[in-house]
Symmetry: C2
Subunit: 186 residues, 2 copies
Amino acid sequence: MSITREKIIELGENLILSRGYNAFSYQDISTELGVKNAAIHYYFPSKENLGTSIVRTNIQRFEEMIDNMHSRGFDEWQQLDTFIKIYIKSHREKKLCLVGSLGSDFNTLNENTKKELIRMTEIILNWLTSTLTTGREKSIFKFNEEPQNKAILILSSLVATLQISRIIDNIDYKSICQSITDGLKP
Amino acid sequence: MSITREKIIELGENLILSRGYNAFSYQDISTELGVKNAAIHYYFPSKENLGTSIVRTNIQRFEEMIDNMHSRGFDEWQQLDTFIKIYIKSHREKKLCLVGSLGSDFNTLNENTKKELIRMTEIILNWLTSTLTTGREKSIFKFNEEPQNKAILILSSLVATLQISRIIDNIDYKSICQSITDGLKP
DNA sequence: AAATATACTTACTAATAAGTAAGTATTAAA
DNA sequence: TTTAATACTTACTTATTAGTAAGTATATTT
């Protein structure tokens, strides 16, 4: 895979996470890369292609992380902590996550990017639900809600607290994450 | 106040909640209203004026609701239920809330709209934090987190579950709200 | 009756957006 | 050594955007 192509995806992702899908242009990417906007169209003929590729790259990254955690034999606490650390990093870098950013722009997205975003959100929620279910079976976690509901509540908290932190800057993101995990302790 | 002006604010708000700040134009509003786009500029010279007015209108609406609940002597449970019902209505109407929608677009907003959004979010969180604090003092609520953290967690859950519901359509929003309130029961 | 304010329309401008067709320099393969 | 693929640039088009200046019809005030 071309290095320019990878840089375009990386820059595009950062632009989506910092400014949103409808507020970034091919010019933003090409200027940053020091090329002409037609060069971006060479790799991604339309913004639809770029958006879809960005989400696909994220799905791949997430699935690799899950595989890696499973092959290392991570228990449910270690898995949840690793997942939460992604959000703590996003907060440190003043970025949102794709679910929150593209979720807000959902109605304006093209069909393919929508499809990949749906797929990505399902993959995350399915993993989280199954991790919560197994963790509770093993008495590692304790909670009363349906695992699916608990998964949505945890993901929502992580996603929207990033957004609210952007509005109100004195929020202690790590402390919020602590509250989330405290709510799962037996 | 002019009825056209009010309609513009209402349409603008709905456009922000369904498509986001950067994906709606004065044309969208003028077409819907059956006037020319210059008519919108007559009431709101710039998009900054419109955005700011939309947020201010929401602040006013929220403050009126709070005043109303206080003057009716609503207890903390009734207040929280009333607040959550706003979100259930938004979900039914397939809309987001301003905090979530404009939170995602925050970095692209003008200074005045940012200021009002900050003010609105602070008002909501301060009310929620104080309601939770008082409710716990009265043993109406039970929770272990810091009230400020609990307020952020509740607001985040409401906000981002609207976004996630847009992506994944089989989410039972009311059931999520039930999980939120169940977590406060003594 | 004349002046003024209100609520617009007409007819623009300048900037930026996505997207394209055709050309060029460089590297790799036949 | 010619051919072809790769990685772009040049130079454009078309559409949409926010925004404006000047004009007009209607109602209200003086």
